[in-house]
């Protein structure tokens, strides 16, 4: 990709009590590109995502969205600016219905939240939009159940549906298929494949499953002990000794 970066992580770092969870990570992402982030457990993948989407504030470095610096923005401001995030640990509104979960994301994007004297039920286009995302995630049939009542696999789908409903420029998936059964995972992978088709979008994906990486990745970035240790085309990165170790499940030996 020769175009200007859509998202840049510049020397990003954060330490927790002396332990550098993310250590001087520099990396630029481009629209139309799907980057898979790999690394052993505890490598700092989720922490790096948290720095980018704003749940954590970095101790070093800057984050740019296009040319705009967003390092100090709140998570909600970043969401409005176009950064969307799905979480590794399911992170929903448990006692609200599945429909309401997604509708909240649609309502936030359309800036309807502060409206006080409109009947929410009168804004039926919000509901219609939310339903279309639910259908896409194959959750239409359970729209009226509370999110907490869904089985794990459906909760993961809802997690993704929330991200879809945000219609962000930057999509960040943190192990979207974790804990899902083999027959459920393809729904999510198809959705990510769909997202990828729109070349104005930038996708970041943390994923361990080899076949997923093969099928979707345009580029692979490897994190290890908080540092970026490899970055390149899938075929090249896959050859690296370290990556082989990770994928053979033997990469967890180091406890820094």
């Amino acid at each position: 990709m020769s175009s200007a970066a859509s998202l840049t992580s510049e020397h990003l770092g954060i330490s927790f009590g002396g332990h550098k969870a993310v250590d001087d990570v520099s990396c630029a992402f481009h629209a139309g590109e799907l980057t898979v982030v790999v690394g052993p457990n505890g490598a700092g993948k989720t922490t790096w995502f948290n720095l980018i989407s704003g749940q954590l504030t970095p101790t070093t470095g800057r984050i740019l969205l296009g040319d705009r610096e967003i390092t100090r923005l709140s998570p909600s401001a970043r969401a409005k600016a176009g950064i969307g995030r799905a979480f590794q640990l399911t992170n929903l509104f448990p006692r609200l219905t599945v429909l309401e979960n997604v509708r909240l994301a649609v309502q936030a994007r359309e800036g309807q939240g502060p409206r006080l004297f409109v009947k929410a039920s009168a804004l039926s286009h919000l509901t219609d939009e939310a339903m279309s995302y639910l259908e896409a995630a194959r959750l239409g049939a359970v729209a009226h159940l509370p999110a907490a009542a869904l089985p794990h696999g459906d909760q993961r789908k809802l997690e993704v549906a929330l991200l879809l409903a945000m219609e962000p420029k930057i999509f960040m998936f943190d192990e979207p298929t974790a804990g899902m059964s083999l027959d459920e995972a393809p729904v999510i992978l198809e959705l990510i494949g769909e997202i990828k088709k729109d070349t104005s979008r930038t996708v970041l994906l943390v994923e361990h499953k080899m076949d997923v990486v093969r099928a979707l990745a345009d580029r692979i970035v490897v994190l290890h002990n908080g540092q970026l240790v490899a970055d390149g085309a899938p075929a090249d990165v896959m050859k690296l000794e370290l990556v082989r170790e990770i994928y053979l499940g033997t990469g967890a030996e180091e406890v820094a």
């Binding site: 969401a79 909240l104 939240g113 502060p114």
Partner: protein, 368 residues
């Protein structure tokens, strides 16, 4: 997928819990609407007016604790600001509607400013610290009210008169002899006007709150209660929303304070500022059901009736059982607090989400 089939296949059950709640609320509304004619004695009037005002106060507290998950102990402080503003103006500038508007307005404004300050300064911190800050603010206000006795009357409070329109001596419609016309045997005097002033203002404020919880904003509040971090992550400025709802609730509480001050013709720490009231509304919301609005209505009625009539009921019970050993002792009116406590424990045990919450949940589980 099998779930969906089950749902459409099962015969649709009547939502009994919902019907029960709406039916009860409807009865309460009717009783309050016709209270001056149904229960014309002075004590019942006082009970009805207190119920009206406390529904507003408890429902506005429910906006915070039930809808948004904000724990505040400063709610009676805002109530007190409205009440004291009105009381001081009526005392200083005389019994006019202008005094009520000016004093009440000042109280509401003070509540708004204070709520915005507390909200912006401390809604970022952990819930427990926020609760502490509100507790501190409320304590300071209580001390101020007793120290500035020149204006507030200190511990004794203030007694004042209210506009002539609301005086029992005023005939709303006079007959040929210049006496108030009677309707269903009740004289249409200023007291009736005062009751309907309190009733209709309370109704309007409650309607505003119903509107708020059904609005897009109401949805965001629930989202914040359910998962503040995700609400922020999908684009809602949580601190902003929290501060906004804290201010709205404070203003409504202050408006309720105005009504209380006008109705009672007396304002003191006991009736407008004390932590007893705070605990009362906390219990009301818990018993009625948090995050339901209707819970506030049912909770207030139960609590108020219990605190006004439980003693009477027990005295009757003690008399009726006079010949039986032990029972009259247990039913001695002095033990009313004990029975109230037992009642709470049973309610919380059998209705863990409050009366309204539990009844409506039951519907949801039955497959509504």
């Amino acid at each position: 997928m099998s779930l969906a089939v089950e749902q459409t296949g099962a015969p649709r059950q009547l939502p009994m819990g919902r019907l029960l709640v709406y039916g009860t609320v409807g009865l309460i509304a009717l009783a309050l609407l016709f209270a001056p004619f149904l229960f014309p004695d002075v004590r019942s009037q006082e009970v009805a007016a207190r119920i009206c005002v406390f529904i507003v106060l408890a429902a506005s507290f429910d906006l915070l604790i039930g809808y948004t998950g904000i724990v505040s102990f400063a709610h009676t402080m805002f109530f007190g600001l409205g009440a004291y503003g009105t009381a001081i103006a009526l005392k200083q500038f005389g019994a006019s509607f202008t005094s009520i508007a000016l004093g009440g307005g000042a109280g509401v404004l003070a509540a708004l400013v204070l709520a915005a300050l507390i909200g912006l300064l401390s809604l970022r911190v952990k819930a427990i610290f926020f609760a502490m800050v509100t507790l501190a603010a409320a304590s300071v206000m209580l001390v101020l009210a007793s120290q500035l006795s020149e204006f507030t009357g200190g511990e004794d409070g203030l007694t004042y008169s209210i506009p002539r329109l609301f005086s029992p001596a005023t005939e709303l419609i006079a007959d040929a002899e210049g006496k108030a016309v009677k309707l269903f045997g009740v004289a249409l005097n200023g007291k009736i006007a005062l009751y309907y002033f309190v009733f209709s203002s309370s109704l309007a404020l409650f309607a505003v709150m119903l509107r708020i919880v059904a609005s897009p904003l109401g949805r965001v509040l629930k989202a914040i209660r359910e998962n503040e971090m995700r609400a922020e992550a999908i684009g809602y400025r949580v601190v902003g929303y929290r501060t906004a709802v804290f201010c709205i609730a404070a203003v409504i509480a202050a408006l309720a304070g105005i009504l209380r001050a006008v109705w009672l013709k007396y304002t003191g720490p006991e009736v407008a500022l004390s932590f007893d009231i705070m605990i009362d509304i906390l219990l009301i919301v818990v018993i009625g059901g948090m995050g339901t609005m209707w819970g506030a209505v049912i909770g207030v009625v139960l609590m108020t009736l219990a605190s006004y009539y439980l003693k009477d009921l027990m005295a009757l019970g003690a008399e009726a059982t006079a010949s039986i050993p032990l029972l009259p002792d247990l039913l001695n009116p002095d033990r009313w607090l004990l029975w109230l406590g037992v009642g709470f424990i049973l309610l919380v045990y059998f209705f863990p989400s409050g009366l309204v919450g539990t009844l409506m949940d039951r519907d949801a589980r039955a497959g509504k």
